[in-house]
């Protein structure tokens, strides 16, 4: 069973996605802020991380992505980033700051806009866990 880590500060949104993903046959763990998310990602090494951009700070999601990418355990874990804002491509490297640049991986694999339908979320996750 593929394991998914949800990192989001919105308890309702987590509840919704837990239900969606569990129903689709995934094993789901949730974290309610970036710090907790990084800890759980390192401990559990999930197959996919679904990450919200704005949590305590507007860029907390980017900070989490950077930490995951700089850690050998989560360096190659696909990240699906959910945003309530439209992140343009040029903002991304700036927001990520310094990270161990490695051409074989992307800082973030997929961006999804909030709100997201179950169908879109499930298709995207199915795509990245392949």
């Amino acid at each position: 069973m593929k394991r998914i880590l949800l990192i989001d500060d919105d308890a309702d949104f987590i509840a919704v996605n837990e239900k969606r993903l569990t129903d689709a046959g995934y094993s789901v763990t949730s974290a309610y802020n970036g710090e907790e998310g990084v800890e759980k990602a390192r401990a559990q090494e999930p197959d996919v991380v679904v990450l919200d951009v704005m949590m305590t700070t507007p860029d907390e999601g980017f900070e989490v992505a950077r930490k995951l990418r700089n850690d050998a355990r989560t360096k190659h874990t696909p990240i699906v980033m959910l945003t309530g804002i439209n992140v343009s491509e040029y903002q991304l490297p700036k927001a990520l700051g310094d990270y161990d640049k490695d051409p074989t991986w992307n800082p973030v694999d997929v961006f999804l806009d909030k709100p997201v339908t179950a169908e879109k979320l499930l298709n995207t996750i199915a795509e990245v866990v392949k």
């Binding site: 500060d9 919105d10 308890a11 309702d12 949104f13 987590i14 509840a15 919704v16 996605n17 239900k19 969606r20 129903d23 309610y32 802020n33 907790e36 951009v53 704005m54 949590m55 305590t56 507007p58 945003t83 309530g84 804002i85 909030k114 709100p115 997201v116 339908t117 179950a118």
Partner: protein
């Protein structure tokens, strides 16, 4: 022949005026007759002294001067004229024409001479030539005066320009066609002197070329494109300031390239405001989309039908509460914007804080009871302020409802209002989850919320305390927070008391 036009094209604006000085009456009369017939205005003098007086009193174009006269003689008249009236043409009348006399009179400034006796035609000719000379002298004088005025204007214009340039906070640089700097104001010098403070008394004329890479780029674009009138760029400096650089081509009438004017304007402040604005819009967008995403997700699950009754109920309640929060958020945003823009219509009246707090506490008790939270109120002394009651209610409703929301089940909320001299302080303490230091620092910022697993189920807009802070500030009040994680927080508002 009209004297106005003259044979050689010389012309006077007024009738030429001629003075004849001779002690021989026949000469005076003869000259007067011949010259008056020519259309000139003629004045005569019988001796040098009266002649010189007349010359000084009136403006004459030409003087016919006899060398031998009583009083001041012709030679002395010539000397005086040379010193005082250099533009009046002098023609000498002499009875004993000799080469020496002629040379001497010319040395003294005479234009010509006419030996006695002379015919009317000789007189007309010599006068005509003299008047031509007079006309030339006048034109020269006019030209000279114009030129002097022009130079004066030019100097003034230049100093005016320099004053304007020096007063400008925008940097101005001027480069010639070879890309060499020819002018810069003090603000402009900062761009070429590596930030060294220029001597403000320096004449802002400098030498050198444009070395700043981005500015040089603009100059190059203009140099290389004969159709380009201007171009601009935004420059970010090493000390994180932003400048708008505009380069404008200077061309002559035929379109030939003369150089370029560069104006640099500091737009750091504007950029800062834009940044804040866009950060705010991002936050609002995020805060509006979050509840929408939750509601959309729940509704999708409910419509899918794969949810049992109890879960469905819970989801609907959550939807309801998120929609309410969304509504609240929009109200708060509008409040915030009204406070910021100062368009709130206030009704300032004496308010009894004891009464107002009592009402709020009554209303909040309902929310507390469900979770076993007790709210107590203690009012010590006369706690009266002058304020808009609705705003006071908003401040304390926010603080007391937060104290309930972020409390633990079975916790306590204590509200204490106290009078200290000319101030009233109201503290709201809870026994809730408390905050870490960095949260305390940011707690009054828009959209800042403490987010962790303990607060995840608490709804809020993140705007309440931002509104509270602005309202308290607007009454010259103060708000302080003390908090211990895991133990609780105390918010203390101080407001000026109503003068007795």
């Amino acid at each position: 022949m009209s004297p106005d036009q003259g044979q050689s094209g010389a012309s006077f604006e007024e009738t030429p005026r001629i003075i004849v000085m001779d002690d021989e009456e026949s000469i005076r009369l003869g000259c007067e007759k011949v010259l008056t017939r020519e259309g000139f205005e003629v004045v005569v003098a019988a001796d040098g002294s009266s002649g010189w007086e007349m010359l000084q009193e009136d403006e004459f174009d030409l003087a016919l001067i006899d060398l031998k006269m009583p009083g001041i003689d012709g030679m002395n008249i010539l000397k005086l004229m040379g010193e005082n009236l250099p533009d009046v043409v002098a023609i000498v009348i002499t009875g004993y024409a000799s080469y020496e006399t002629a040379v001497e009179t010319v040395k003294l400034g005479a234009y010509d001479y006419i030996p006695k006796p002379f015919t009317p035609d000789e007189l007309r000719n010599v006068v005509r030539r003299g008047l031509e000379r007079r006309f030339l002298r006048l034109s020269n004088r006019r030209l000279r005066e114009e030129r002097e005025r022009f130079l004066l204007d030019l100097t003034e214009e230049r100093s005016r320009l320099m004053t304007i340039l020096r007063a400008m906070s925008d940097a101005v640089l001027v480069a010639n066609r070879r890309g060499e700097l020819v002018l810069a104001n003090p603000a402009g010098l900062e761009w070429i002197n590596d930030g060294e403070d220029p001597d403000p008394s320096d004449v802002p004329e400098i030498s050198g070329s444009v070395t700043h890479e981005e500015i040089a780029g603009l100059v190059e674009r203009i140099e290389n494109d004969p159709d380009l009138e201007g171009c601009d760029a935004e420059i970010e400096t090493e000390d994180d300031r932003y400048f708008h650089a505009a380069a404008t081509a200077v061309r002559d009438d035929e379109g030939g390239y003369l150089g370029v004017v560069i104006v640099l304007r500091d737009i750091s402040e504007r950029r800062e405001i834009e940044k804040m604005k866009s950060a705010f819009v991002r936050m609002v967008s995020h805060e509006l989309r979050s509840p929408l995403a939750a509601v959309q997700g729940y509704l999708e699950l409910l419509v899918g039908g794969d949810v049992d009754g109890e879960d469905a109920d819970r989801m609907l309640r959550r939807c309801n509460s998120r929609v309410e929060a969304l509504q609240q958020m929009i109200n708060d945003l509008l409040d915030l914007s009204r406070i910021e823009s100062g368009t709130v219509q206030r009704e300032l009246r004496p308010c009894d804080l004891g009464e107002i707090l009592d009402e709020i506490v009554q209303l909040q008790r309902g929310a507390g009871i469900e979770r076993g939270i007790e709210i107590s109120l203690d009012v010590r002394g006369e706690c009266h302020v002058v304020a808009d009651a609705r705003e006071v209610e908003e401040v304390f409703t926010n603080l007391i409802s937060n104290a309930v929301k972020y409390n633990r089940d079975g916790g306590k909320v204590e509200v204490v209002a106290e009078r200290h001299d000319d101030k009233v302080s109201i503290s709201v303490s809870d026994t809730g989850i408390g905050m870490k230091e960095e949260a305390v620092e940011n707690i009054f910022e828009e959209f800042f919320r403490v987010r962790n697993s303990e607060t995840a189920s608490v709804t809020g807009t993140g705007l309440g305390l931002a509104i509270v802070k602005r309202l308290v500030d607007s009454y010259d009040g103060d708000i302080q927070v003390e908090s211990v994680p895991g133990e609780g927080s105390t918010f203390t508002v101080t407001l000026p008391a109503r003068p007795e």
